[in-house]
C-alpha cells in the first residue's frame, strides 16, 4: 500500500476538533455559496447598482473561498493526491481573486462612501425643501386669507362694514379670542374703543393716546407684541389662568390730501388707529411670524379701504352740496329773470304811457304852430315843441337804458355849436325858472371854443337834466351855470381820484358847474344819487316827481364821453353844486366856414352856391312844384320837374345829385319811389341824395323816411336860407336828418 498518494491529515479523524472543523467548513462553504446567490438576487432586483463587475469579482472570490472550504471537507480524511491538487488549485485561485478584489476594493470603497454622503446630503436637502414647502404653503395660506379679507373689506365702501368685516375675518383666520379697534377721537388726544369682535356694543372706553406702549406701536410699521395687562388689551373679562398673547398694530388713517399725484401716500400722517388682537387664553399658542405678517398686511389694506370709504363719503357730500348750490343758483337765476322781465315790462308800460300824452302834446303843438299866433305865443309854442321833442327823446332813452348798460350805445358825434347848446338850455329853462322866481345866469368862459365835436343831443340832455334838477330842487334864490375849459392842474381833482383825464391836441375837457341855492343834499345820500330809480327820501323832494333816472342816465352819458360827473353839497339847506367834465373834440379850422350855422343875416341873392347842380323835384301840386323849382333855380341848380312817381323813376339818373320829393300827398307813395331809387342805384356814389318835403315831421313820417333810405326831411314851407343850408349840409355830409 505504499503507492497511494494519499495525504494523511495531521490529526486523527475521530478527533473532536476535527469534527468541529469539518462542520464549520461545511457551513462556511454553504454561506460562501449562498452569499453570491443573495447578491445576485438583490442586484437583479435593484436596477441601479453601478458596480456589477465588482460584484462579479466579489462573487468569484466568495465562490472560490467556498469551494476551498468545501474541498477542505475532503481533506479531513485520507484523501488522494487529486483532491489535494484540486484543493491547492482552488486555494491558489482564491488567493489570486481575493487579492485582486482587495486591490479593487481600495478604489471602490471611497466611491461607495461618497455615495453615502451624497445620499445624506440629498436627504438634508429634501428635509430643507420640505421645510420650505411648509413655509410657502403657510405663506400661501396667509396670502389666501389676506386676499379673502381684502376682498371682504373692499367689497363694501361703508366704513363700518369694512371694519367689522376685518375684525370678523381676522378673528376667524387666526382663531382669535378678541379683536378690537381703537380710533382716535375728534380731539386727537384719546383713543376710543370703536369696534370689537365679540362684544356687540362696545361702550365708549377711552384711553389717552400718549401711552408709551401706544407710542411704541405707532412708531413701528410692524405688529408689536404688547403686554396683556396694558389698558388697550384689558377689554375682556379676566381669563382663568393666563391670558393669551396680544399683538397690536397701527392702522394709518389716510386722508385725501395724502394721496398726492405721483406720490405714494406719505405716511407723515399723524393719525393712526390701533388694532389689538388677542389669542385665546389658556391655549399656550404663540404668535407666529407669518401670522404677524398677515396682521400687518391686513392693517395696511384696512387703511386703504378706509381711505377709499372716506374719499367716497367726501365726494358724496361734495356732490350733495353742489346739488344744493345748483338748486339755489337756479332759483336765484329765475328770480333775476323775473326781476328783469318785471323791469322790462315796467319800462315798456311806462314808455307807452308816457308816449301817448307826448304824442298828443307834440301833435297838437305842431298844429297850434300852424294857426294864427302872436310872436310871443309862437315862441312859447316853439319852446313847448322843442321841450316835448327832447322829452320824447328821453323816453326813448329810458327804453334804451338796457342798451346803455350793455355798453352798446354809441355817441352820435358831430360838430356843433357849443354856445348854442347852452343858450338853448337857458331858453328852455327860463320859463320854469321865472315861474319859480329863480334867477338863472350863464357864464361861458372866454376861452371856450364856439364849436366842438361831440354828441350834441346827449350833451344838451345832460346839461338840461343837471340844470333842471337845480331848478327843481330850489324853491328860491338863484342858479348859476358856469362853463369853461378845464386846465390840466384842475383836471386832477382830489375829490375824484379815479378820474385821470389826459388832455391832448384834438380834445379839450369841458367843465360845467351848476350851482343852486336849494335844499341841498346830505352827505350820506350823495353816493346814491346816480343809481337808477333811487331818490332821496327828504320830504321836500317827495312831491317833486321824476322817475329818478335822470342822473343815472347823465352819468352814463358822461362816462361815454370819457368824463366824470359828481355833486357836492355842504348839507341840507345849503344848496348844492353839480359838476361834470366831458371830453369834446376840437373841430379843425377848415371845417368852420362850411358850418351851416351862419350868423343870422339873410344873404339875399347870394352867389349861386350850387352852380349846375342837377336836381330832380317830384311834386304833384303844381304851385308848390313851381315854388320849389324857383328856389332851386335861384340857388343855381339845374332843376328837372316831374309830377308823378312813374315819371320820376323814368327820369331819374345818376346825373341827378339830389331828389326832392313830396311825401305828404295821400295816394302817391313817395316812399315807394325812394325804395325804387335805392334799388336802381346800388353804388352809393351814384345814388342821388333823396330828401323828403313834407308838411309834418312827426315820428311816423320820419321813421318811414328813414326806413326807405331817405337822407333827409324838410318841413314845408321852405325858405331860401333853409334850402341853401340844407343843400350845403347834404352835399357835405350826405346826410341830414331833419331841418325844421
Amino acid at each position: 500500500m505504499d503507492s497511494c498518494n494519499c495525504i494523511e491529515p495531521q490529526w486523527p479523524p475521530d478527533d473532536l476538533l476535527m469534527k468541529y472543523q469539518y462542520i464549520s467548513d461545511f457551513f462556511i462553504a454553504l454561506a460562501y455559496f449562498s452569499i453570491p446567490l443573495e447578491l445576485i438576487y438583490f442586484v437583479k432586483k435593484s436596477a441601479v447598482f453601478p458596480y456589477r463587475w465588482v460584484l462579479v469579482q466579489f462573487g468569484a472570490f466568495i465562490v472560490l473561498c467556498g469551494a476551498t472550504h468545501l474541498i477542505n471537507l475532503w481533506t479531513f480524511t485520507m484523501h488522494t493526491r487529486t483532491v489535494a491538487m484540486v484543493m491547492t488549485t482552488a486555494k491558489v485561485f482564491t488567493a489570486v481573486v481575493s487579492c485582486a478584489t482587495a486591490l479593487m476594493l481600495v478604489h471602490i470603497i471611497p466611491d461607495l462612501l461618497s455615495v453615502k454622503t451624497r445620499e445624506l446630503f440629498l436627504k438634508n436637502k429634501a428635509a430643507e425643501l420640505d421645510r420650505e414647502m411648509g413655509l410657502i404653503r403657510t405663506q400661501e395660506e396667509t396670502g389666501r386669507h389676506v386676499r379673502m379679507l381684502t376682498h371682504e373689506i373692499r367689497s363694501t365702501l361703508d366704513r363700518h362694514t369694512i371694519l367689522k368685516t376685518t375684525l370678523v375675518e381676522l378673528g376667524r383666520t387666526l382663531a382669535l379670542e378678541e379683536c378690537a379697534l381703537w380710533m382716535p377721537t375728534r380731539t386727537g388726544l384719546e383713543l376710543q374703543l370703536s369696534y370689537t369682535l365679540r362684544q356687540q356694543n362696545p361702550v365708549g372706553y377711552t384711553v389717552p393716546i400718549h401711552l408709551p406702549v401706544i407710542n411704541q406701536v405707532f412708531s413701528s410699521s410692524h405688529a408689536v407684541k404688547i403686554s396683556p395687562k396694558c389698558p388697550v388689551a384689558r377689554i375682556r373679562p379676566a381669563g382663568k389662568y393666563m391670558p393669551g398673547e396680544v399683538v397690536a398694530v397701527r392702522v394709518p388713517l389716510l386722508h385725501l390730501s395724502n394721496f398726492q399725484i405721483n406720490d405714494w401716500p406719505e405716511l407723515s400722517t399723524k393719525q393712526y388707529a390701533l388694532m389689538v388682537l388677542m389669542l385665546p387664553s389658556d391655549s399656550a399658542r404663540q404668535w407666529h411670524v407669518h401670522e404677524l405678517e398677515l396682521v400687518e398686511v391686513v392693517a395696511d389694506q384696512v387703511a386703504v379701504a378706509l381711505s377709499h370709504a372716506a374719499i367716497l363719503e367726501e365726494s358724496m357730500r361734495a356732490r350733495d352740496l353742489l346739488m344744493e348750490q345748483n338748486v339755489a343758483l337756479d332759483l336765484a337765476r329765475r328770480e333775476a329773470e323775473t326781476a328783469i322781465r318785471a323791469r322790462n315790462d315796467f319800462l315798456a308800460v311806462m314808455n307807452h304811457e308816457m308816449r301817448t300824452p307826448m304824442h298828443a302834446i307834440i301833435a297838437l303843438s305842431s298844429l297850434l304852430q300852424e294857426t294864427e299866433l302872436t310872436p310871443e305865443q309862437r315862441l312859447m309854442v316853439e319852446t313847448i315843441l322843442k321841450s316835448s321833442n327832447l322829452l320824447s327823446t328821453l323816453i326813448n332813452d329810458v327804453l334804451d337804458l338796457s342798451r346803455l348798460e350793455d355798453g352798446s350805445l354809441q355817441l352820435d358825434l358831430g360838430t356843433f355849436n357849443l354856445f348854442a347848446v347852452f343858450r338853448e338850455v337857458l331858453n328852455l329853462i327860463k320859463p320854469i325858472a321865472s315861474v319859480k322866481k329863480l334867477h338863472v345866469s350863464l357864464n361861458l368862459a372866454p376861452d371856450l371854443p364856439e364849436y366842438a365835436i361831440g354828441d350834441e343831443k346827449r350833451l344838451m340832455q345832460t346839461i338840461l337834466n343837471v340844470v333842471g334838477n337845480a331848478v327843481k330842487f330850489s324853491k328860491e334864490g338863484s342858479i348859476s351855470i358856469t362853463a369853461f375849459v378845464a386846465k390840466s392842474e384842475l383836471l386832477r381833482d382830489s375829490r375824484t381820484p379815479e378820474f385821470f383825464p389826459v388832455p391832448s391836441d384834438n380834445h379839450f375837457y369841458l367843465r360845467v358847474q351848476v350851482k343852486d341855492s336849494g335844499v341841498g343834499i346830505s352827505p350820506q345820500d350823495i353816493p346814491k344819487l346816480f343809481t337808477k330809480f333811487a331818490q332821496t327820501q327828504s320830504t321836500a323832494t317827495r312831491n317833486s316827481g321824476g322817475s329818478g333816472l335822470g342822473l343815472a342816465i347823465c352819468k352814463r352819458f358822461v362816462n361815454l364821453m370819457e368824463g366824470h360827473i359828481w355833486i357836492e353839497s355842504e348839507g341840507l339847506g345849503k344848496g348844492c353844486t353839480a359838476i361834470f367834465m366831458v371830453k369834446l373834440g376840437i373841430p379843425e379850422r377848415s371845417n368852420e366856414p362850411k358850418l351851416p350855422f351862419m350868423p343870422k343875416v339873410p344873404t339875399n341873392h347870394g352867389p349861386t352856391a350850387f352852380p349846375g347842380l342837377k336836381v330832380l323835384v317830384m311834386d304833384e301840386n303844381g304851385v308848390s312844384r313851381m315854388v320849389t323849382k324857383g328856389l332851386l333855380v335861384h340857388l343855381g341848380c339845374d332843376v328837372t320837374m316831374v309830377s308823378s312817381s312813374e315819371e320820376c323813376l323814368r327820369v331819374v339818373s345818376h346825373e341827378h345829385k339830389v331828389v326832392f320829393m313830396d311825401v305828404c300827398v295821400p295816394g302817391m307813395d313817395g316812399y315807394e319811389v325812394a325804395i325804387r331809387i335805392n334799388e336802381k342805384f346800388t353804388k352809393r356814389h351814384e345814388r342821388p341824395v333823396i330828401v323828403a318835403l313834407t308838411g309834418n315831421t312827426d315820428k311816423v313820417t320820419k321813421e318811414n323816411c328813414m326806413r326807405v333810405g331817405m337822407d333827409g326831411i324838410i318841413l314845408k314851407p321852405v325858405s331860401l336860407d333853409k334850402m341853401r343850408s340844407v343843400l350845403s349840409d347834404l352835399l357835405e355830409h350826405r346826410v341830414l336828418f331833419e331841418a325844421i
Binding site: E372, G622, V623, S624, M626, V627, G630, V665
Partner: protein, 149 residues
C-alpha cells in the same frame, strides 16, 4: 301920380296885406326868388295858383253835390289846395283848408259846405288883392321905377 307916391302906395298896400293876414312870409320868399334871370317869377307862380285853385274849387263843388260824397277825394283836393296856398303864402286860404280837412275827416257835410264857401270867399279876396298888387307893380315899372323891397 308920381313915382315916389306910387312906390309908397305899393309898400303900404303890401304891408297891409301882410298885416291883415292875406299873405305871409312865404310870399316874401317868393319875391326873393325873383331876380334878373327870373323877372316874372312871382306873377307866374301866382297865375298858376289861380288856375289851380279855380279848378280845385270847381271839383270840390261838384264832389259835394253828389249823393254819396267821396270824402277821400275831397280830402285830396283840399290837401292840394292847402299845399298850393301855403306855397305862395296865401295864409288865410291855407287856414280854411286846414279846417276843411278836419271836417272832411269827420265826414261832416254841413261843415264841408261851409268851409267850401269860406274858401271860395277867401280865395276871391286874395285873388283880388294880388291882382291889385300886381297892377300897382306894373304901374311903377311903366313909370320907370323899381319895385321897393
Amino acid at each position: 301920380m308920381d313915382l315916389v307916391q306910387l312906390q309908397r302906395q305899393f309898400v303900404d298896400y303890401r304891408t297891409s296885406l301882410y298885416h291883415e293876414g292875406f299873405l305871409d312870409e312865404q310870399f316874401t320868399q317868393l319875391q326873393e326868388l325873383q331876380d334878373e334871370n327870373n323877372p316874372d317869377f312871382v306873377v307866374e307862380v301866382v297865375s298858376l295858383f289861380f288856375e289851380d285853385s279855380e279848378r280845385l274849387l270847381n271839383e270840390l263843388a261838384r264832389a259835394l253835390e253828389q249823393q254819396s260824397i267821396d270824402y277821400k277825394r275831397i280830402d285830396a283836393h283840399v290837401h292840394q289846395l292847402k299845399g298850393s296856398s301855403s306855397s305862395i303864402g296865401a295864409q288865410r286860404v291855407q287856414k280854411v283848408c286846414i279846417a276843411f280837412r278836419n271836417y272832411c275827416e269827420e265826414q261832416n257835410v254841413e261843415g264841408c259846405l261851409k268851409c267850401l264857401q269860406q274858401v271860395r270867399h277867401e280865395y276871391s279876396l286874395v285873388k283880388t288883392k294880388l291882382e291889385s298888387l300886381f297892377q300897382l307893380e306894373q304901374q311903377i315899372l311903366t313909370a320907370g321905377g323899381s319895385i321897393p323891397m
